[in-house]
């Protein structure tokens, strides 16, 4: 009986995992297909990677995506950390609930709505001030608004798990509040901040919808390039590009997870061996 139940559970698990990951594995396999026709296997080759790397359009899109992701991740990390600290450490200041709601709203807001509203906002701004030009700047700002929320949530949970004893102890030993922040709070938050940075980086690299709304002429991000090409027809070099993106995102997410788990272990270990 027990045996049968465990094989049932195991097969369900395999089915679930297959459902999630077989398409991606197929895509990776077909990116090494020699044939020009996507669904027909014509032998192993890396020719589409060569085609891809020779495409100037692709390099431009990748460059833009990476630049946006880098700037976005850095700003999101700084702003998100500050927001998280404010939410956990500043007590019940006036409007705290509203602030907390505003920070986390982008997590649940439909992307189409976020994209559309940001587009209208940027158009209004450029009418009034002639700034910003739609492109790199607008996409980056749009990405920061939602990635910040993820970082804030990570930092918030870390901080409330930490308690205030360590910061109190530092103050008790003569450290002024700013000193406490740099000596104690930030070093202890560092793994969380890096995890947040990586998460923000991959979120930005992934985003298609919001970027499509707020981008301008000639500023295609990598997901936008893929999407526009696929609309015309399946091409094998897109498989290669998608494979590269999967690898990059996977590395980013794994790193972020590893950092978060490691910090949780550190905190648990301190709590257990008290």
């Amino acid at each position: 009986m027990k045996q049968r139940r465990s094989t049932f559970i195991l097969s369900m698990l395999c089915f679930g995992l297959a459902f999630l990951y077989v398409p991606m594995i197929l895509l990776i396999i077909y990116s090494f297909n020699y044939s020009k026709l996507v669904p027909v296997w014509g032998g192993f080759s890396t020719r589409w990677y060569t085609v891809l790397f020779e495409s100037e359009e692709m390099w431009a899109a990748l460059g833009l995506s990476l630049r946006i992701a880098l700037v976005n991740a850095t700003f999101a990390m700084i702003l998100g950390t500050l927001a998280g600290i404010a939410l956990v450490r500043f007590g019940r200041f006036r409007g705290r609930t509203l602030f907390s709601g505003l920070i986390t709203a982008p997590l649940v807001m439909p992307e189409v709505i976020t994209g559309l509203s940001l587009l209208l906002f940027f158009i209004a701004l450029s009418h009034l001030f002639g700034w910003p030009q739609r492109g790199f700047t607008t996409i980056t700002i749009a990405h920061i608004t939602f990635s910040l929320a993820y970082v804030a949530v990570i930092i918030q949970s870390r901080l409330s798990g930490m308690g205030t004893d360590l910061e109190d102890a530092a103050q008790d030993l003569g450290a002024r509040p700013l000193r406490v922040m740099f000596d104690i709070t930030l070093p202890l938050l560092a793994p969380g901040m890096i995890a947040g940075w990586l998460l923000a980086f991959t979120l930005s690299l992934d985003d298609l919808i919001i970027a499509s709304f707020v981008s301008g002429p000639g500023s295609n991000t990598l997901p936008m390039l893929i999407y526009s090409r696929v609309k015309v027809g399946l091409r094998p070099d897109i498989n290669a590009l998608a494979t590269i993106m999967i690898v990059m995102v996977t590395i980013g997410v794994l790193l972020a997870c590893w950092l978060m788990i490691r910090q949780k272990h550190l905190l648990d270990r301190d709590a257990n061996t008290k």
């Binding site: 308690g163 004893d165 360590l166 109190d168 102890a169 530092a170 103050q171 008790d172 030993l173 003569g174 450290a175 002024r176 000193r179 000596d183 104690i184 070093p187 202890l188 550190l266 270990r269 301190d270 061996t273 008290k274």
Partner: protein, 380 residues
């Protein structure tokens, strides 16, 4: 208590002595909840003062106000004659040892201990010397390069103590200092704490919920409940002469008999319990108006058991043994008296019982006696 003319060991008996820590009218409210309620307290230099009470009694809030982490809603805190009420924690001549120890996990033992000295801009070689000195005092010289998670519970406790003491504070606050240690280590550490305090002469204020710990450590202790002090005094005073039923029950245990005063002379009172149909003769320093409702409290170890009735000049009750708890060095007898009240009696295991397991056995009829100087009369 014999009166001493030399007050150096017991400055609280000297009316002219100036307290080192003075709390005047201290209250702390969190929204509707009053954690500390209009409290006055004097603590003298070199004391080891314990704040004792159940959880939520306000003892930790009081300690945090001394450290500066909480600002009193009203009242003033003086330390060494200076008003410290509004001074932030980093500027107070006070250090605290946290219940969680709060060792910085990303720093080594050495860095943890040196942290406070570095904040004071003390020259490097002096920091090094003082850190070495204090770490050798707590016997941790071999562990300087370790991180906190590589230490045992007892070692962490000593790092926390060293870190708080290395700045040579005027007052050291200790929040449940031994709470996280196991029993054997706790007893050993208690005496180490007393020795260190003796050597350095720093004033200690300890928060604890453990009454035995408080009695072992303290020069004086304050029992707190619902944000107020119930009684402040030396351990023997609080244990032997509790002022209320609450104190008598929290510090040790006590058997209570309710009754009314039927006779009161200088030095003793007679309390009659209608329910039990007995009179209790108890020494009491002041006279009490006849008819007042009072409680006679007797500690379990102050009652003797005998199989035969003694002469009636002592306080005597009759009962049946319902339960025996054998602890090794003592046994606790639970005895039911005629109003169904259960009386606890603690009997030292002075002689080994011959033949039977216990010299007095289950369901045996027994007489309980105590001396008139052993009980106390409580009015609240």
């Amino acid at each position: 208590m014999p009166q001493q003319t030399d007050y150096s060991y017991r400055p609280w008996l000297d009316a002219d002595a100036e307290p080192f820590i003075k709390l005047r009218g201290i209250s702390k409210k969190f929204d509707e909840f009053t954690a500390v309620d209009n409290v006055d307290l004097d603590i003298y230099k070199g004391e080891l003062f314990s704040l004792l009470g159940g959880s939520g009694c306000g003892k930790t809030t009081l300690l945090r106000m001394l450290a500066g982490f909480e600002t009193p809603s009203s009242g003033t805190i003086y330390i060494d004659g200076v008003d410290m009420t509004e001074v932030p924690p980093y500027a107070r001549p006070i250090n605290m040892m946290f219940q969680s120890y709060a060792l910085f996990p990303h720093m080594t033992v050495e860095q943890n201990v040196a942290y406070g000295l570095k904040r004071d801009k003390i020259p490097k070689d002096e920091i090094k010397r003082r850190v070495e000195e204090i770490l050798s005092m707590v016997e941790l010289s071999d562990f300087v390069k370790r991180k906190p998670h590589q230490l045992s519970g007892g070692q962490r406790q000593r790092v926390a103590l060293a870190r708080a003491l290395v700045k040579q504070p005027k007052v050291l606050l200790l929040d449940e200092p031994l709470g996280a240690l196991d029993k054997r280590l706790r007893e050993q550490t208690q005496f180490e704490l007393i020795n260190i305090q003796d050597q350095l002469g720093v004033t200690f204020v300890v928060v604890t919920h453990d009454q035995e710990e408080a009695m072992t450590l303290s020069t004086r202790m304050a029992m707190m409940d619902a944000g107020k002090f119930q009684q402040i005094g030396e351990p023997t005073e609080v244990y032997e002469y509790p002022e209320s039923r609450l104190v008598a029950n929290f510090i040790g245990s006590a058997n209570m008999f309710e009754g009314r005063v039927t006779q009161s002379d200088v030095g003793h009172v007679v309390v009659t319990s209608k329910e039990l149909d007995v009179e209790f003769y108890t020494n009491h320093p002041m006279s009490i108006i006849e008819g007042t409702k009072v409680w006679v409290a007797v500690r379990p170890e102050k009652i003797t058991l005998s199989k035969t009735s003694l002469d009636a000049s002592t306080n005597q009750l009759k009962g049946v043994v319902v339960d025996i708890g054998y602890h090794g060095k003592t046994s606790t007898y639970r005895i039911r008296i005629n109003n169904d009240q259960i009386i606890e009696v603690s009997v030292p295991s002075q002689k080994r019982p011959r033949g039977e397991r216990h010299s007095i056995d289950w369901d045996e009829e027994i007489y309980l006696n105590w001396d008139q100087s052993s009980a106390v009369v409580l009015m609240k």
